[in-house]
Amino acid sequence: MYEEIFIAGSGGQGVLSLGKILTFSAIQENKFATYYPSYGAEIRGGTANCMVKISNNFIYSPIIENPTVAIIMNMPSYLKFVKKFIPQKFLFLNTSLIEEQEEIKKFINQYAKNLEVIKVAATEIANKIGNTLVSNIVMLGALIHRTKIIDIYIIKKVLSNMFNKKNLTLNLKALDVGYEI
């Protein structure tokens, strides 16, 4: 397997955590994985992003060259990144905050014929569960369900190492809800 996953959103949406969870989980599965965040002054201006690569072999460059999957959590990221990192397999959009643009859709279609666009109202769902902060985990659930990149049990194990009890319950719920959409 070889996946290049691009994840973008606003600083507060937990896109970096989402990337790290994927990375930790992949390594738990004895895969190779790299994680590369945006950092420094780049983060200013509303968007944060990270790049995750997962492979059965050693990963040479942590930088996305041919994204297979992209997860876009808000509108500025949609406008800024989608044309630059067109995924070949899956594009996950947080439709709670993104209004698709015809021009961008067209552009993508041109370069990624077989792309599947998965729309998840992640923020709204998270809000319903109890906290918009877990929109990233909702998205993660959706990602795992659709792509099977990583075993969901491994993800749960990783989550349980990261959160205290109260937060864990919330996060696991978000994961499950996302998984079941």
Binding site: S10, G45, G46, T47, N74, M75, P76, S77, L79, L97
Partner: protein
């Protein structure tokens, strides 16, 4: 009772608003409010909710860190 003898026009470049709310907080007349919508920068942005109350005091102009607000006097 205060009588408004002048009318003021508030021009805000809302598409660049970052939603800091400084203008809203500082306006003594409750002219401004925060929209539920999100602009292309990804922020909930300011909107003029009570334009008629504006006294042209300029506090909002002075506070806006993104210099998005301009006030014109209409005669």
């Amino acid at each position: 009772m205060r009588v408004l003898t002048k009318k003021f026009k508030i021009v805000i470049e809302t598409q660049y608003c970052k939603g800091c709310q400084f203008c809203i907080e500082t306006c003594p007349q409750g002219v401004l409010g925060l929209s539920e919508k999100i602009n292309k920068l990804g922020y909930r942005y300011v909107e003029v909710i009570n334009p008629q109350n504006c006294t042209g005091c300029g506090r909002c102009y002075i506070m806006c860190p993104d210099y998005l607000i301009e006030i014109f006097e209409e005669k």
